[in-house]
Symmetry: C2
Subunit: 337 residues, 2 copies
């Protein structure tokens, strides 16, 4: 029941292993008959003065036009006077919520079974303000900014997500016992939104305690919402519970219905071009993009094909203890479709 | 071979379960013939204007005089215009390094075996500056401060600790890819100190990646040193790997040879006074205090008695799945001495 007029989506293959895993996504999507027309954009070799970054103005515009995209890893080129590529995307496109589901993959054993967590990270402010200065030699400050606007929209997104995905509980993660004003404002916003969702159990958990409880018993949590840096930390911790960033997808949500799905692992330059990379995180991110587009049938087909291929264990890349190439693993997934 | 002139040490039993677990320490120390004379100080019921906190000036002075102490949990009384008790102690006594060893207890099974980690946390600045303000309604800032002075002394402490404790590796944990100036200064200091310890392997690890690797494979780490908030987060995560804050000791190191050992768990008001509390964290903190005093023989005797009691499994408190009272568990430890 999917549309036959292709939907245009921006594709940032990215650097390092990016192009190889992006190729895997293209093949799997083709095998599943997904009607997507990719609008491919590479990281430029020069700083674009319009964006002050190695991302061109055209590539940002592509996401704004298509309203949907998929992004591989981008390593920020060494040098001065320009911004990190990932941060440029988040700030320029106003990608205010970063959603990272972490769930145990059947057949891939870690120390934890049945993990099923959703981290929702404020993605535009907090410790990522970029405001730092030296007061006197040997004394430096950085400024964390929390606004009602950004806190409300991410809290609203988290509760709406919980409700529409049949989730039972939202935990707001904070350190308001120390940062009473900043994290306090974040919590006030969560409190306010929680009142509109009496059917969702709501709790506040201090970040240190949250990390301790996550490693002891992740089943205590369901949806977690938090300021930027805590989200950065906790989403990686949660990914670790199920095997790491090579297996976990993410999707960035912006204003006006924009969604940029993203594999958040690194560009792994050491294995780039060797047909060894694991495309799972980018594939699962692609599935998140399809769900966002309401292409649910194909999303579920592709999701099952990935999960089943990993569960069977015959074709696995080296990071999962196997010896398959990226192309063999991709072919195995296509064969499941 | 321990001295027979008793050494004076400050004891803060603290609130909630504090007095019960402090009683346990006193009994175990007596059973082991430790020549300590406790100088006991309770949290006051009124704010002392000289400290602007519920800690009296006399109790702070006691630590400065004795240079050594042991502290139970302290819940900051609700109210306004005074400071957190824990932070008052750290700042007034200049307790610049918080050392938290996390190791697997034989016979107490968690998902992780053979964990053996030391977290060393900068304890006086960073995100704990207390500097926050509202810029305009709905926009608040908090300020993180990193100084060369505090970073150097904690880095120096960490490398010296590694060397004197036969440790092989120090990992400096940071987020300098985002906070280039503040965390950058912290790393510069670690780099500088590391050069003086060529025999210790030194690495820098971004905090998000560190959390992911800790839950995947804690054996990758040995000694970890980091700014205040990261230390707060990572030390709790590490405690979670081996069973939680009820089982892990800590010791705060200050200038002029001051050491204040501390159980960092909460005061558990729900079970206070019921003879149900687990004194392990405070007991193991007491062992750290004894090692600091070079009372190594008695430290090891008490340590073994605690470990063996838990390993045998006959006497365990409810938090460890047993049904022993605090006094029975304490008696079992004394019987091992
Ligand atoms: C690469 C880095 C700037 C980034 C972040 O800190 O947000 C990454 O860790 C992530 O989580 O996407
Ligand atoms: C109680 C709280 C202020 C404290 C902290 O954040 O440092 C605690 O979590 C700790 O680790 O000792």
């Amino acid at each position: 029941s999917s549309s036959t007029t292709p939907i245009k989506a921006t594709l940032f293959p990215g650097d390092g292993i990016g192009p190889e895993i992006a190729e895997s996504v293209k093949q799997v999507f083709t095998a599943a008959d997904v009607a997507i027309e990719w609008d491919e954009h590479y990281v430029s070799t020069e700083v674009d003065p319009r964006t002050n970054s190695f991302l061109t103005w055209e590539s940002l515009q592509s996401v704004l036009d298509n309203k949907v995209g998929l992004k591989g890893p981008m390593a920020t080129p060494i040098g001065k006077g320009h911004r990190s590529l990932n941060l440029t995307l988040r700030k320029e496109l106003n990608l205010y919520a970063n959603v990272r589901p972490c769930y145990s993959l059947p057949g891939y054993k870690t120390r934890y079974d049945d993990v099923d967590l959703i981290t929702i990270r404020e993605n535009t402010e907090g410790e990522y303000s970029g405001l730092e200065h030296q007061v006197v030699k040997g004394v430096v400050e950085s400024i964390k900014i929390i606004t009602r606007k950004a806190s409300m929209r991410v809290a609203e997104y988290a509760f709406l997500y919980a409700k529409t995905h049949g989730r039972k509980k939202v935990s707001a993660i904070h350190k308001a016992n120390i940062m009473q004003k900043t994290d306090g404002l974040f919590l006030q916003c969560c409190d306010e939104v929680a009142k509109k969702y009496p059917e969702i159990y709501y709790e506040k958990v201090v970040i240190d305690n949250c990390c301790m409880m996550l490693v002891k018993n992740p089943a205590l949590f369901d949806v977690l919402v938090m300021p930027n840096l805590y989200g950065d930390i906790i989403s990686d911790l949660c990914a670790g519970l199920v095997g790491g960033l090579g297996l976990t997808p993410s999707c960035n949500i912006g204003e006006d219905g924009i969604a940029l799905a993203e594999a958040v692992h690194g560009s792994a330059p050491d294995i780039a071009g060797k047909n060894l990379a694991n495309p799972t995180a980018l594939l699962l991110s692609g599935v998140m993009m399809l769900r966002h587009l309401k292409l649910n049938k194909q999303a579920e087909q592709i999701h099952s094909a990935i999960i089943n291929t990993i569960a069977e264990g015959k074709y696995r890349t080296a990071d999962l203890g196997g010896s398959s190439t990226t192309t063999d693993f991709t072919k195995a997934i296509c064969d499941h479709l």
